[in-house]
């Protein structure tokens, strides 16, 4: 009997420690914006997965490329087929570390996030500033940064160069809840 009790408590303990310290969202929002002489292009993705491991100050993000919604269906088709090649590279990911995460509290503060961003099969180290706030047991992370399409081998043919900017502004907002 004792053995069983010990075992059960062990299992419980295991499951408790597992759920401790991780915060997750399945509907994080990412918007990208391209400003070019011919036309502005925006796309929204509200199904971004993001997780924070508070014990290790780590963060990971997974973005399904086909979930980006454009105003024009043709833009969306081109985005998936010609630029990011969603069939070959269905996801963009980020994996990194939040510097000085332990000081995150219920006042909005800016922290550096450092890690590797993978888009279109190309990985690149990035270093961005993001705003963190911890409120009612949720961790809200938001901010924006620029990405250079060339860094991720996303080529823009000369014929449409006026329609698409070389640098794209990415805005994000993730509301993590305990996992």
């Amino acid at each position: 009997m004792k053995i069983i009790l010990t075992l059960i408590s062990c299992f419980l303990w295991v499951s408790i420690t597992q759920s401790q310290g991780k915060y997750l969202t399945k509907n994080g929002a990412i918007t990208f914006f391209s400003k070019a002489p011919m036309e502005d292009i925006t796309a929204d993705n509200n199904q971004v997965l993001s997780i924070i491991d508070t014990d290790h100050s780590k963060m990971a993000i997974s973005i399904l490329m086909k979930s980006f919604l454009f105003k024009k269906a043709l833009m969306q088709e081109h985005f998936n087929e010609n630029y990011v090649e969603s069939d070959k590279y269905p996801k963009a990911t980020f994996k990194g570390e939040i510097l000085d995460f332990n000081s995150v509290n219920n006042v909005l503060s800016t922290k550096q996030v450092k890690g590797v961003l993978t888009i279109h099969g190309v990985s690149k180290e990035i270093n961005i500033d993001a705003n963190f706030i911890k409120q009612n047991n949720t961790i809200l992370v938001s901010g924006d940064f620029m990405i250079n399409l060339e860094d991720f081998k996303i080529k823009i043919p000369a014929i449409v160069a006026k329609n698409i900017a070389k640098k794209i502004k990415v805005t994000f907002k993730f509301n993590h809840k305990p996992y």
Partner: protein, 289 residues
């Protein structure tokens, strides 16, 4: 007691493995099973393979303006500038009523024909869960010939000038660069030239696309008609072409033995002999708004 310790130890090890679990792996596990992302898209670039329709539809509320042009036959020689002096043109507006339903209206200079069609995307090709090997679209059109070349004693009524086409478009994208379509076709003509000509014609089309680069593909298309008119030396239509995509445009360059751009004409009433040099150069330009 030793046993219990061992078990506890094992559980601890187990636990430490869990906590080392990669964060991206957790996200992978948490990703909801999506149905829309498994749909195979861009089987063909445009709504036409070359002469005939592809399974592709315009998206919701998109309006496409298509200008199609076929010149005269290349074997007309220098005097006709290898066919470029002659031309047959079709203007059309095609509108995405929903993502799966397109309605079109067009006017061809050949026999002054007006045509109208509906195309419905019925089944989509899917990968992964609930996978399905092919995409199926249904196509129906009605055309009216308004040219006044009839014998005055034999004036055609509006109803007599009508013809109908029904098609089942079945296509599969085998991989990123190769797609193939089979198109069973039924054509009904209310009026035919002579009594021996069939009012109903069955045909089957074959069309393929081979992508050469991200924006350029090589297409070919062939329609085999089972029933042929007696009054003309009807030939099956054959076409080769190149699709070039330039942002909002799709530009198709075509070499075909057919001079018309609507189904009932190029499938059932085509007389050009491709290998005899009756090759018409042409293009389709579409602009989406």
């Amino acid at each position: 007691m030793k046993k219990i310790l061992l078990i506890i130890l094992l559980i601890f090890i187990n636990n430490s493995i869990f906590s080392q679990d990669d964060l991206l792996d957790i996200l992978e596990d948490e990703t909801p099973e999506s149905t829309t992302d498994n749909i195979v898209t861009s089987t063909f670039k445009g709504t036409r393979i070359l002469n005939g329709h592809s399974i592709e539809n315009r998206k919701d509320s998109e309006l496409e303006f298509i200008i199609s042009h076929r010149f005269g036959a290349i074997n007309l020689g220098f005097d006709e500038l290898f066919g470029l002096d002659q031309s047959n043109i079709r203007f059309a507006l095609e509108y995405g009523v929903t993502d799966n339903l397109t309605a079109g209206f067009g006017r061809s200079s050949f026999e002054k024909t007006y045509d109208s069609f509906l195309k419905y995307s019925w089944v989509k090709q899917r990968k992964g869960q609930k996978s399905f090997p092919v995409a199926i679209s249904l196509f129906g059109s009605i055309a009216v010939k308004t040219i006044k070349d009839y014998d005055p004693a034999d004036k055609r009524s509006f109803a007599e000038s009508l013809s109908y086409v029904g098609q089942v478009l079945v296509a599969r994208k085998f991989n990123e660069s190769f797609s193939f379509q089979i198109t069973p076709t039924y054509i009904h003509r209310n009026t035919v030239k002579i009594g021996a000509d069939p009012h109903d014609i069955f045909a089957v089309g074959f069309g393929g696309r081979l992508k050469l680069s991200k924006r350029v593909s090589l297409n070919s298309e062939y329609y085999y008609a089972f029933d042929e008119s007696e009054s003309i030396n009807a030939r099956n239509s054959l076409a080769f072409g190149v699709d070039i995509e330039t942002g909002g445009h799709i530009f198709q360059l075509i070499l075909s033995n057919a001079i018309t751009m609507i189904e009932k004409s190029f499938i059932a009433e085509n007389t050009g002999n491709f290998f005899g040099g009756d090759i018409h150069f042409g293009f389709n330009i579409s602009r989406t708004f």
